[in-house]
Symmetry: C5
Subunit: 124 residues, 5 copies
Amino acid sequence: MEIDKLKVTTSLDKWIKLNVGGNLFMTSRETLLKDPNSMLARLISDSDLISDKDENGAYLIDRDGKYFSPVLNYLRHGKLILDNGLSAEGVLEEAEFYNITHLIALVKEHIQKRDLQTSVVDNK
Amino acid sequence: MEIDKLKVTTSLDKWIKLNVGGNLFMTSRETLLKDPNSMLARLISDSDLISDKDENGAYLIDRDGKYFSPVLNYLRHGKLILDNGLSAEGVLEEAEFYNITHLIALVKEHIQKRDLQTSVVDNK
Amino acid sequence: MEIDKLKVTTSLDKWIKLNVGGNLFMTSRETLLKDPNSMLARLISDSDLISDKDENGAYLIDRDGKYFSPVLNYLRHGKLILDNGLSAEGVLEEAEFYNITHLIALVKEHIQKRDLQTSVVDNK
Amino acid sequence: MEIDKLKVTTSLDKWIKLNVGGNLFMTSRETLLKDPNSMLARLISDSDLISDKDENGAYLIDRDGKYFSPVLNYLRHGKLILDNGLSAEGVLEEAEFYNITHLIALVKEHIQKRDLQTSVVDNK
Amino acid sequence: MEIDKLKVTTSLDKWIKLNVGGNLFMTSRETLLKDPNSMLARLISDSDLISDKDENGAYLIDRDGKYFSPVLNYLRHGKLILDNGLSAEGVLEEAEFYNITHLIALVKEHIQKRDLQTSVVDNK
């Protein structure tokens, strides 16, 4: 019985709820710790940052959830995936806010390529 | 014990819920006070504007939440980020409604650039 | 005490919940009464139309909420704002259903301009 | 009193909740019965099809809610309305699944026109 | 009475809730078992994979729900349906994560065709 209780606690501990500007995200502790220098790793480590939680126990982050999706996905699988229509500048802003060095580089590279393509089309 | 209770109150006080036309947003008091002349700063200061709240304690605003996102993001980080497809005129309408002077200027500038580009393409 | 109670009732009376095909909208009674001949004004006046409500007290409307957004926004600020990608024909259908004469004219005008532009591009 | 109770039951009976792959839709019984041969009419008639419901009393359908919207709208007003970006093939798949003969024809016609236009542009 | 209870249990057993990064999906056990080698079939078989559930009994998956939609739809009807704007690379990433061999092939084929078309346009 003691062991079962422990198992449940451990299992729930693995999962983290985030309330990003009113949108709920659910992810694993492991994912958020991927980049130890990021603000997200610091948020859940609770040592040097006082973290607020909402009434459902989700960590509160005062940012837009829409641009947070590609940031979280990057931490999940290491790639930058951007849907058409989503502003890359919006994602860059978040990558910088969350301080994820490699993602910042990836988004900047993406913006450079995009602008190069556009200017080629314009000069035809 | 008294101190703990105070801490919880202070922490919850930092966070504000907004119900914009039925969409929930969560942000910090600090963000909403960024532009002291805006309707949002007045809304939460409670002195000269009688504010209604819904059953979850969120301030009620009779506007569309979709166009509110870029407005709130501007208050968060000071930049205008517009996804493709979202009507800039829709955001201008909200910037004027919320009375955020610098954002109004940013959106107008964005619209001018966009219309210039379109007319260049049309005249080729 | 009586006065306080009255104030709360009045304040809640100002706000109306709509359940449009499963999507929740929140707006003011004032907004819905903007066009007195519209089906929305009749819906909340309760005299000549028997209105159903869901379990949260929201008026039930058997239509798509996505195309309802521009209709409600028109009542809020008097302008037609359409995002890229959203079907103008879908909004026209709703403007006619809700019987908002001026909005019907605005959407038809928008469609005519759009079709004119497209045919110019096709004939180049 | 008996009459009032009856009225409430009748009113609630008019409205049907659907849980399409996790998305909630609310519509009238009348709308779902528009095409008597459709799977939706059979779903709520309860005679030849055993229907599952979720914990809120919504009929469970194991399909994607995004492509269900134009199907339900068709039953509401008899027209095919497709937003830009939404896959027409995705809607055709659902029209066939729900077995709505006239809608299947409308979507196929839409796809033919679209493909014709594209090939004209390609051959210029 | 015993039989009725059994029926309810069996009916609820047929339906599975998934919490994919905070988004709720509802589908049938049958759909998730379509590809027996997929991670989804293993998730609900509970034998070789320890599965976490959220407080509503939904299986927790640490991925983005937006790219999960076409994956689930593929299991429902066997076709690849992609909306405009949705990143095919994002869906490929998920098809590989969930280990659905035939879907991986379908998405790769789609990407090849798309890139071929783009390069033809560029070289005109």
